[in-house]
């Protein structure tokens, strides 16, 4: 347990020094500024604009950071040969992977909290209401970010950062369009059982980012179905653990030349 913590803290220490993290905050500020201006043209809709822009910003920037840092994290340890003094220490490879995941997850959590503070400040500025759903929404984004980190780590155990980045981005985009994929089922051309099966197969197996996206509910202040939060947490945690397990299995076999 302590060893995972030690790896995580070290990962956090490195990641938090990444300048892109702070550049991103600047972008979010601009985004929020624009949304306020746009929102002010529409009567009483400013809060919606700020949340819509703000949450989209938090999610996109967070996911981008997860991919950029996540795909390079383990690759860099190998490339820069820092792993040569870690593997010989009494730390299991799964502890290393889990520590790396938790460290980056923590970093991006801190970053997200900062971004959320900005959004909240802007909501207050436009005299909008602060609801608890806002924080639930932010937590859902955090789950998306964490899932993205796990996917990035998974791909990076067997491909270069650029390829891993491409794969992860693709999965993120597909994962957000899974409902569209499923809706193909109702169309006529999907009558072939093989195609049906294929669609259902991918629908169930690919990471369902769509279900983790509750921005619409947050923006329009809708109530979530009962048990939705718990189910989503369960889904995200299980999916992450699954990815990290596979990553570990691949990493266990890796040799460090």
């Amino acid at each position: 347990m302590k060893k995972i913590y030690v790896v995580a803290v070290n990962t956090y220490r490195e990641a938090i020094r990444n300048r892109i993290l702070y550049t991103v905050l600047f972008f979010l500020l601009i985004l929020l500024g624009i949304s306020t201006i746009l929102g002010s043209f529409t009567m009483g809709e400013t809060r919606r604009f700020v949340i819509d822009f703000g949450f989209s910003g938090i999610e996109l920037l967070g996911v981008a950071m997860a991919i950029i840092i996540g795909t390079g994290m383990i690759y860099n340890e190998i490339q820069r040969k820092t792993i040569f003094t870690v593997i010989p220490k009494p730390v299991k490879r799964w502890q290393f992977i889990l520590g790396k995941f938790l460290g980056l997850s923590l970093t991006l959590f801190v970053q997200e909290v900062l971004m959320l503070v900005f959004v909240v400040i802007f909501i207050v500025i436009v005299k909008g209401k602060i609801t608890s759903l806002l924080f639930v929404g932010a937590f859902f984004i955090f789950m998306e970010i964490s899932l993205t980190i796990a996917i990035s780590i998974f791909f990076s155990t067997f491909s270069s950062p650029i390829l891993s980045g491409l794969f992860t981005t693709t999965l993120y985009l597909i994962g957000n369009s899974l409902e569209e994929l499923k809706s193909l089922l109702t169309m006529k051309m999907a009558s072939s059982p093989v195609l049906k099966f294929t669609i259902l197969f991918f629908y169930n197996i690919l990471p369902n980012f769509h279900n983790l996206n509750i921005k619409n509910e947050v923006v329009h202040n809708l109530t979530l179905p009962e048990g939705y939060v718990i189910n989503s947490i369960f889904y995200a945690v299980a999916y992450i653990l699954f990815l990290l397990t596979i990553s570990t299995l691949i990493f266990e076999k890796k040799e460090f030349y």
Binding site: K3, V6, N10, F84, T85, V86, P90, F256
Partner: protein, 313 residues
């Protein structure tokens, strides 16, 4: 139980992106290191030293054969708890200071907080890093990195120390300091295995050496053994007034300042002459096996090996 036990160890690396080939790095090497022993792995560049050490530390896996550290497999936690490893040209997290770095490595062992703190202070002092303890490692020179490398290898006060070319990149002062550290660890009963291509490094501190040439061990033994086996004779140094006595025995001598040196082919002859000299009450200044320098020995083995593979193919 030996500290390290290697039997018929083989390893090859995959190379080439399109056409898959393999480079053989180790062609079945065997040796063991006893507890408390200082063992030198000698070899030219590309001989397979780093490969051997990477297998010992679990960074790569054996391609065949057997490797045991204290009777355990290299990836066993118990084995890892008892080793310290200094990689060849070590690299560290550039954003950390030596103290932070050592805290990180220490955290990977089960060392209690207070003890770790003391250990870090001790190691910084031992490796003359105290002045730099709060400087980011990114700013360090090669020699300083080597010191940091040594500190992290010693963080768990390991029973077995594995050092890959620890002397390279150090200036003469650094070498001397490192030699002293190794000698003091040896005194404390630690097992030390280190590699080098610089023979004088090995000669000074090793109990035993293995000579590794292109993935094969061509010779193992104590330095004395290796040298005596090849000694080209024995030199007896006598005072100059023994000239006549030596001449009367029909032996050759060569003058050397105020003394003379008699060279004899085998040990029996030398022994006989020594006894007689003692009986004659002649003053014996020195008696030494005429040594082949380790360099010569190494070159000799290398030439023999090259001839073998040319002859063989």
């Amino acid at each position: 139980m030996n500290a390290i036990e290697i039997k018929d160890l083989r390893k090859s690396y995959p190379t080439g992106h399109i056409i898959r080939k393999r480079i053989t790095a180790l062609r079945g090497i065997s040796f063991s290191v006893k507890k408390g022993e200082t063992f030198g792995l000698l070899g030219h560049n590309g001989a397979g030293k780093t490969t051997t050490f990477k297998i010992l530390t679990g960074l790569i896996f054996p391609g065949g054969g057997e490797v045991k550290i204290l009777d355990k497999s290299p990836d066993d936690l118990e084995a890892k708890n008892s080793i310290g490893f200094l990689p060849e040209n070590p690299y560290f997290y550039t954003y950390l200071t030596p103290v932070e770095l050592l805290q990180f490595y220490g955290g990977l062992f089960n060392i209690e907080r207070k003890k770790l703190h003391d250990r870090i202070e001790y190691l910084l002092d031992l490796l003359s890093l105290t002045k730099w303890k709060d400087t980011r490692i990114g700013k360090f020179s090669k020699g300083m990195l080597q010191r940091v490398g040594m500190a992290q290898a010693l963080i768990n006060d390991p029973e077995i120390l594995i050092l890959d070319e620890p002397m390279t990149g150090l200036d003469p002062v650094g070498r001397k300091e490192l030699k002293n550290i190794i000698l003091s660890l040896k005194e404390k009963g630690k097992t030390i295995i280190f590699s080098s291509h610089i023979l004088s490094d090995v000669e000074m501190i090793c109990d035993r050496v293995a000579i590794l040439i292109r993935g094969r061990i061509v010779e193992t033994g104590s330095i004395e053994e290796l040298l005596v086996k090849r000694s080209t004779g024995y030199e007896i140094e006598l005072t100059a007034n023994a000239k006549e006595w030596v001449k009367n025995k029909g032996l050759e001598y060569s003058p050397s300042g105020s003394s003379i040196i008699v060279t004899l082919k085998d040990f029996g002859e030398a022994q006989k002459l020594l006894k007689e000299a003692v009986n004659e009450q002649l003053e014996i200044l020195s008696f030494i096996p005429r040594r082949v320098m380790l360099e010569d020995l190494f070159m000799e083995e290398y030439r023999k090996y090259e001839k073998d593979i040319r002859g063989g193919s």
